[in-house]
């Protein structure tokens, strides 16, 4: 038997397969397809302090092997989340990670402060990288200074581990990752979506009401995989790889490049059973390759 568990230091996962925020609802939507207890964990939809309307539709456009979304973090806020959702999730034996959002650094801290008082949360994923909430995709993860500032502030408040989710829309991802590490982040989630757009040629207007959106799906895998490899060379804290993962092979590419765990996003829509299949594929791969613990493959890329 292969041991699929991975130890992030701040959190032990039964396997490295998580789900990406915004693509797995609040978990419960997937119970017809996935036994949540089999997952390494799942990350729920981004939460602001207050409920949030999100962007007007159209919010989605398909592109070549990809999906652009401009949901704009529609959500129910921490209060309703704590009262309505958390109780429904407390009996699952898997790591529940909350994706934390904020209009400014203080809101991130406020969300964490509120959630710190709730049970059943394993860690926070600090979403400082959503390209859909401000025009032109502005977000803290675009500079090391703003990254450091928000991580530092939240880390000081939080009683739980912090995973900082970075934006891929930067010149030097390593610099940003180092800033998150310096700010005290326990882990790095790499990465969010790529700022993108699509044009309706007949109407000569953007296909998304928000003009810009974030590109996800298989199209982006080669880009984020590259960043995971670059960051893994330089940071000491564990990396969670996210971007275009649809198969066990994709997950392995990320882990070999340096990710300690991975999140599955868009693929959950295409095949809601993807996570289960990936876990099976990882098991098969390890068995065939004679690997006793999947941790043995993390960061083993021969260059």
């Amino acid at each position: 038997m292969t041991d699929l568990s991975v130890d992030l230091g701040f959190l032990r996962l039964k396997n490295p397969v998580l789900t990406a925020s915004g693509t797995f609802g609040y978990g419960v939507e997937f119970t017809p397809f996935v036994d949540l207890n089999k997952l390494g964990g799942f990350v729920v939809k981004g939460l602001y302090f207050h409920p949030r309307l999100g962007n007007p539709p159209p919010r989605l456009v398909e592109t070549a092997s990809g999906l652009i979304n401009a949901i704009g973090l529609q959500g129910i806020g921490v209060k309703r989340f704590s009262e309505e959702i958390l109780p429904r999730l407390k009996n699952y034996e898997t790591a529940l990670i909350v994706n934390v959002c904020g209009e400014d650094d203080e809101e991130y801290a406020a969300v964490v402060e509120y959630l710190d008082k709730q049970d059943g949360i394993a860690a926070y994923e600090l979403n400082i990288s959503c390209p859909n909430t401000k025009r032109d995709g502005r977000c803290p993860a675009l500079s090391p200074e703003t990254t450091y500032a928000v991580v530092d502030l939240v880390k000081k408040t939080s009683v739980r581990p912090i995973i900082t989710k970075l934006s891929p829309n930067v010149t030097d991802i390593v610099e940003i990752a180092l800033a998150a590490q310096e700010g005290g982040s326990d882990g790095i989630a790499l990465a969010n979506t790529y700022l993108a757009m699509a044009v309706d040629v007949e109407k000569r207007s953007p296909k998304l009401a928000n003009v810009f959106g974030g590109l996800s799906g298989p199209a982006i895998k080669p880009l984020t995989l590259r960043m995971v490899f670059q960051v893994a060379q330089k940071v000491q804290i564990p990396i969670i790889g996210i971007g275009g993962i649809v198969s066990g092979n994709d997950a392995l590419e990320y882990m070999i490049a340096g990710a300690s765990a991975i999140e599955v996003g868009t693929a959950n829509f295409v095949d809601p059973e993807t996570t289960t299949k990936i876990i099976q594929d990882l098991e098969i791969h390890c068995r065939k390759a004679g690997i006793q613990s999947i941790e043995q493959i993390i960061g083993t890329l021969k260059v």
């Binding site: 919010r59 989605l60 829509f269």
Partner: protein, 265 residues
């Protein structure tokens, strides 16, 4: 709701770019209600990526039929499947038309435009079973866009046909045909599926005549089962205005819930 990764296709019929596929899916057939839909995967390639929402057109014992128009890459791929191939689907999804026993003995209008007829065949059958008297209005741009007319006729449904170009039936929009017929016909309720502008017009008529109405809406869908928040639309609700998920709360909504775009009225 469940996934059926390999539902075998058992028959296929095409008329131009319209396609009718029948496939075996026992559980789905047992659960499906008119107005509900499935999410069908166009192919197992990484492009096109997303599933496509397609209404349940009919239920026969342990099989399901879908009827769709090949308008883009996904529906074209679906239309290339043949008898013996498999469909990868999720369903039944969403909330369908309201089938209340109070409809028994009542006349109802079922109005479909183009491929919008898809969910209405299933509905017409259930209406009949319920003891209601459905009258079907079925319109298209030309005679080629209303290929299901014979099916309805053969099954003795009362059906009125229109084409925009007059190549068959009433010449003009199906909305005009419907409006005209209201001189001699007073439906208890209206059920509609079709292009947005057509539905908006029907909504106006229904509102003016104070007839209750239900509409099956379309939206671009990422998942079809409430997980992505991609399919939202603003709906009129008690006191709050919020973006509601078409896939979960709909696709069928009451006329007075729906806010139609101004320019389309």
């Amino acid at each position: 709701m469940h996934k059926e990764p390999k539902a075998p296709i058992i028959h296929k019929k095409t008329w131009g770019d319209y396609c009718l596929l029948g496939f075996q899916a026992e559980r789905l057939a047992a659960e499906a209600q008119p107005g509900q839909f499935i999410m069908a995967r166009p192919s197992d390639s990484l492009h096109p990526l997303l599933r496509r929402p397609i209404s349940i057109h009919s239920v026969l014992d342990d099989s399901i039929e879908i009827y769709f128009q090949q308008t883009g890459i996904g529906t074209t791929l679906l239309g290339q499947k043949e008898k013996g191939d498999f469909l990868d689907i999720i369903g039944p999804l969403g909330k369908g038309f309201h089938l209340e026993s109070s409809l028994q003995g009542k006349s109802v209008a079922i109005i479909g435009g183009g491929r919008g007829i898809a969910p209405l065949y299933f509905l017409a059958h259930r209406m009949r079973n319920l003891g209601a008297f459905p009258r079907i209005y079925y319109g298209g741009r030309t005679i080629n866009d209303i290929p299901l007319r014979q099916k309805f006729e053969e099954e003795d449904f009362e059906i009125l046909l229109s084409t925009d170009d007059g190549s068959f039936g009433f010449k003009g929009l199906v909305t005009a045909l419907f409006q005209k017929s209201l001189q001699e016909f007073s439906p208890f309720r209206i059920f509609t599926c079709g292009p947005e502008a057509m539905m908006a017009k029907i909504a106006q008529i229904a509102h003016d005549k104070d007839i209750s109405s239900e509409f099956s809406l379309e939206a671009i869908m990422g998942c079809g089962f409430g997980a992505c928040w991609g399919c939202v639309r603003k709906l009129r609700k008690e006191n709050e205005e919020e973006w509601s998920k078409i896939c979960e709360e709909g696709p069928v909504f009451q006329g007075d819930q729906i806010i139609w775009e101004k320019e389309e009225l």
